[in-house]
């Protein structure tokens, strides 16, 4: 062992011990420590010396700590005093600065809560990370499809064949049904058939009933407390019998309504066994893709490897048929928590969100925070010139640059903390409004949510430090002699930096205005576009399959006789409803292995007339021709193109009638002009309209625009007199079509609200900056006025710079907005044209607002009496 080393006391100990005295005495303290240390070595040996020095470190620690806290408190008191003084001295400036930042923070916080909510979907299930939905993709009739559903035997087969699958559950959406209990007849929504394993896989809370067997028997159901209340009031629901589809269901349990952030939503779960009991044949068919199937994998399963393994799962069961029909189907997994935001397949179980909107909102939130930061920075640097004297004085009194740096950072941090407080209050007050705007029920629980707390910390620290750093660096670098002599220091570099900030601020604002404008113009375009049929004043009555054909026809006839009704028609569905089929047809002249997928639904002869659809070839259905019902079809132009038919009239299409693959022949009697039977999110597909009265579920009524309310009343009375006791369920076609664009409408409303906030923040900053500049140039303006300048030229002088900046900002904002919006628009097959007027008017709006903001100050300054301004200082 090297003894020489031991003579020197440990580096760290010395380093620490010297801190107990003032800096200028450090070396003598070190000397003292070393002296005692070497004495100790001589008297007791180095081990004892070592022990002594470490004992010194530990026993000095408390004294040192209390001393340093005491000292920093004194400094902090001083800084706090200066901060408060500055706030009070410049009330308007502080108000602008703090309120701008507070509004920005509040916006950001609300967006964060919203995003948090969207991201929290389906994570509440205990085994969420092991639950997957099995989906289907592949070529079906020459078309690539991704489908969220499987055939009924698929789930059980997976449990049997794959040891990794612990359990599987199938859902089948029944949607809205007419339910009866004693004398209560109510349309209930959110009805699903599900396996009993739903209680094992998911964490939905069964309040009453046995999770092991509540849904094992056919014709059993569990219902939510809300639904139970509707039917049974305060009676105990267990064991009671509800009639649905003319079948009696026994209530076997009460289930908590799924939380808002669950993509599986239901009011009633009926047992899956019911479906088997009803029709065992369809339930054993492998080509019946109608059942959303979820599996739970055993803990620690490699989901990627498992996915590869089940890719060709169907080959084991229907490989032969698939090869014969030239079909290729693969399975893939969707993690449960990814479904809400990232899945958009055919036959989703519920309307999903879109991760793109999450990106858009994060972007907007971030931009607004940037805007607020820029404001804050801008105003702080502008003020900094005024504080040059303070800095000079502090430096003369011995403040180090480091200390001054911390002081300014501390100041901006405390400003941002004050802003955060105000923002929290703002959020508390406005969250309900934002919730209704975004159509979600948002709650903020700061303490429970770690990511939110982290976010709070972020949005306080980032603006505080960002805004503080620049002034801190600039100010702390002032040379005392210079600033104390001249009093004001206004370097060109600083105003250049400010210009860049204003420029970027307005670029963001203008881009946001353009975005808002475009979203609304696209929305209007979607709502106003000619759909190929007339949707104004069309009332649709809904009923379920319990209505017989005769009753429907009686009702239709009666309604046709009502004063104010132009025409009533019966059909499977109205346009815009998600109630059409996509099925394979075998057109004339093609082999049986070449099926063509086409959409279809059933109508009666009056449908074409009631909706004003145009027949361009052939004829409409007719009630007088006996070969029409069930044997004739109308097809649209797109279908003609798809089938590559020269002359469609008279040609036949075959379709599969039942599970035994029996074929039916359909004769094409007419071709109608393409109309949008789905929302404008999708292109027009080949459509086949047949005339199958047993499928009718709607009566579609074209009404005269006069006395609309009266006519609806008369129709309702008629319904009540014929369908005694059944609820009258109806909607207007134009309204239901508008509802299809709710997501865009919501987006538009949210973005426009935040655009307003962004503009507000920008204007606040501009106002502050303008008033500061006006103040700085008070003397100059006084002199100009004395020398004969008029008010207009002075206003021009003060506004010119800002106007130029905003014009320049347009050129930055336009391409940015253009590319972002092009991307957004690419989601829509039908796009509103990008109107250059939109870009120009956005620029003009920004310019107008900016001029208004700036000119108030400028005019005030320009009008002031030069005597006052020249006496200034």
């Amino acid at each position: 062992m090297n003894f020489e080393n031991k003579k020197i006391p440990p580096y760290f100990a010395v380093k620490f011990l010297k801190l107990v005295s003032d800096q200028s005495y450090h070396s003598s303290v070190i000397g003292d420590v070393e002296e005692i240390y070497s004495d100790r070595i001589e008297s007791d040996g180095w081990i004892s010396a070592r022990m002594w020095i470490w004992r010194q470190v530990f026993s000095s620690f408390p004294v040192f700590l209390s001393n340093s806290i005491y000292r920093s408190l004194i400094m902090f008191r001083n800084y706090l005093k200066v901060i408060l003084r500055n706030l009070r001295k410049n009330k308007a400036y502080s108000l602008i600065n703090i309120s701008g930042l507070a509004v920005g923070m509040a916006c950001c916080l609300m967006i964060m809560t919203y995003i948090n909510f969207e991201l929290s979907y389906d994570r509440f299930h205990e085994n969420a990370e092991d639950i997957y939905r099995v989906a289907l993709r592949g070529q079906i009739s020459g078309r690539y499809m991704e489908i969220a559903t499987l055939a009924p035997p698929h789930g059980p087969a997976m449990i049997k064949d794959c040891p990794e699958v612990e359990n599987a559950v199938r859902f089948n959406k029944a949607g809205k049904k007419l339910l009866k209990f004693e004398d209560k007849i109510i349309y209930e929504t959110g009805i699903m058939y599900s396996d009993n394993s739903v209680f094992d896989i998911f964490s939905f809370e069964l309040l009453e009933g046995d999770p092991l067997k509540a849904l094992t028997l056919p014709h059993t159901m569990v219902i939510t407390p809300e639904a139970a209340q509707k039917f049974f009031g305060d009676q105990d629901p267990i064991g009671r019998i509800i009639k649905m589809d003319d079948e009696n269901f026994t209530v076997t349990g009460i289930i908590q309504k799924p939380p808002k952030n669950s993509h599986l939503q239901f009011n009633i779960l009926a047992s899956f066994e019911t479906l088997y009991k009803r029709d065992p044949n369809t339930m054993n068919a492998w080509f019946n893709f109608n059942y959303n199937t979820y599996i739970r994998l055993s803990k620690g399963t490699d989901s990627k490897a498992f996915e590869a393994k089940i890719d060709g799962f169907l080959n084991n069961y229907i490989g032969l048929i698939m090869r014969a029909a030239k079909m290729e189907l693969h399975n893939f997994l969707q993690p449960l928590d990814s479904i809400h935001l990232r899945s958009n397949l055919i036959a989703e179980i519920s309307q999903n969100g879109d991760i793109k909107y999450i990106y858009v909102f994060s972007g907007v939130g971030f931009l607004i925070l940037i805007l607020a930061c820029i404001n804050f920075m801008n105003l702080s640097t502008a003020r900094s010139a005024k504080r040059a004297k303070e800095v000079g004085m502090r430096k003369v009194m011995g403040a180090e640059r480091k200390r001054l740096f911390y002081q300014f950072i501390g100041e901006s941090l405390s400003m941002s903390i004050i802003s955060l407080m105000i923002a929290l209050i703002l959020v508390k007050l406005t969250l309900p409004f934002f919730s209704s705007l975004a159509a979600v029920d948002l709650k903020i629980n700061y303490l429970d949510d770690k990511s939110l707390l982290l976010g709070l910390l972020g949005i306080t620290l980032i603006p505080g430090i960002l805004a503080g750093v620049y002034p801190a660096v600039v100010l702390s670098g002032f040379r005392p002699v210079q600033v104390l002599k001249s009093g004001i220091l206004n370097s060109a570099r600083q105003s250049g930096f400010r210009r860049i900030l204003v420029l970027s601020q307005f670029s963001i604002s203008i881009a946001l205005i353009i975005g808002t404008g475009l979203i609304f113009s696209q929305l209007n375009y979607l709502k106003d576009k000619d759909l190929g049929f007339n949707r104004e004043h069309v009332l649709v009555i809904q009923f379920d399959y319990s209505m017989t054909y005769e009753r429907i026809m009686t009702l239709k006839k009666e309604i046709n006789g009502i004063n104010g009704v132009i025409k009533a028609a019966a059909a499977r569905s109205a346009p815009g409803e998600d109630a059409y089929n996509t099925q394979g047809y075998f057109p004339e002249g093609r082999s049986m292995s070449e099926s063509v997928m086409m959409e279809n639904f059933s109508i009666d002869p009056d449908y074409i007339g009631a909706l004003g659809i145009e027949i361009i070839e052939g004829r409409n259905f007719s009630g007088d021709i006996s070969t029409d019902p069930g044997k004739a079809v109308l097809i649209n132009e797109t279908a003609v193109k798809k089938l590559e038919w020269e002359n469609a009239i008279g040609k036949t299409i075959r379709e599969i009638l039942n599970t035994k693959f029996e074929l039916g022949e359909l004769k094409t009697v007419g071709v109608f002009r393409d109309f949008h039977q789905k929302s404008l999110h999708s292109k027009i597909e080949p459509l086949v309209l047949d005339f199958k009265p047993e499928k009718f579920r709607r009566i579609i009524i074209k009404i005269q625009s006069e006395d609309l309310g009266e006519t609806v009343k008369r129709i309702e009375d008629k319904w009540r007199s014929i369908e005694k006791g059944k609820p009258f369920e109806y909607f207007f076609l134009d309204e239901s079509f508008d509802k299809l664009y709710r997501a865009e409408e919501r987006l538009g409303r949210i973005i426009s609200a935040f655009t307003l906030f962004a503009l507000f923040i920008g204007c606040l900053g501009l106002f502050g900056l303008a008033s500061f500049i006006a103040e700085q140039r008070t003397r100059e303006i006084g002199v100009r006025k004395v020398l004969g300048s008029n008010v207009i030229s002075i206003v021009y002088l003060l506004c010119r710079e800002f106007v130029l900046l905003i014009l320049l900002a347009n050129f930055i904002a336009w391409p940015l907005a253009y590319f972002a919006l092009k991307y957004w628009l690419s989601n829509f097959p039908y796009q509103a044209p990008l109107n250059p007027g939109l870009f120009i008017s956005a620029g003009l709006i920004a310019l107008g607002i900016a001029i208004l903001t700036v000119s108030y100050q400028s005019i005030k300054t320009a009008l002031s009496n030069p005597v006052n301004s020249l006496r200034y200082e």
């Binding site: 107990v20 003032d22 005495y25 070396s27 003598s28 000397g31 003292d32 040192f64």
Partner: protein
């Protein structure tokens, strides 16, 4: 007047007692001997700095010596104000003690 804390009073007394020898190491040794307690480096320097700031002790830098590796000693000497403070504090405690006859008679 300022009431001195006990460590401050003891430090001032130590500085008085040590006279020209009064620097960190000596003070530490002296106090540890007299009180029998271990005094830490921190508990010496921090109050001493405070006393110096209040003007109760004067400090000056000694010549750098080779035996301390070129690091000078920092000496303390009690100031006029420090003497006064000590005297006042002593008077106060004597006044207070005199009220307690029993203990004083011992």
């Amino acid at each position: 007047m300022k009431i001195l804390t006990k460590p401050e009073e003891l430090l001032l007394l130590a500085v008085c007692n040590l006279g020209e020898k009064a620097y960190g190491v000596e003070i530490l040794r002296f106090l540890s001997e007299k009180t029998g307690n271990g005094w830490s480096i921190g508990s010496i320097y921090i109050p001493l700095d405070r006393l110096a700031r209040m003007g109760y002790v004067d400090t000056f830098q000694g010549e750098p010596t080779a035996e301390r590796g070129g690091k000078s000693k920092r000496f303390y000497r009690i100031s006029e104000k420090g003497m006064q403070a000590l005297a006042e504090n002593r008077k106060v405690s004597e006044d207070l003690w005199s009220g307690i006859k029993k203990l004083a008679k011992g």
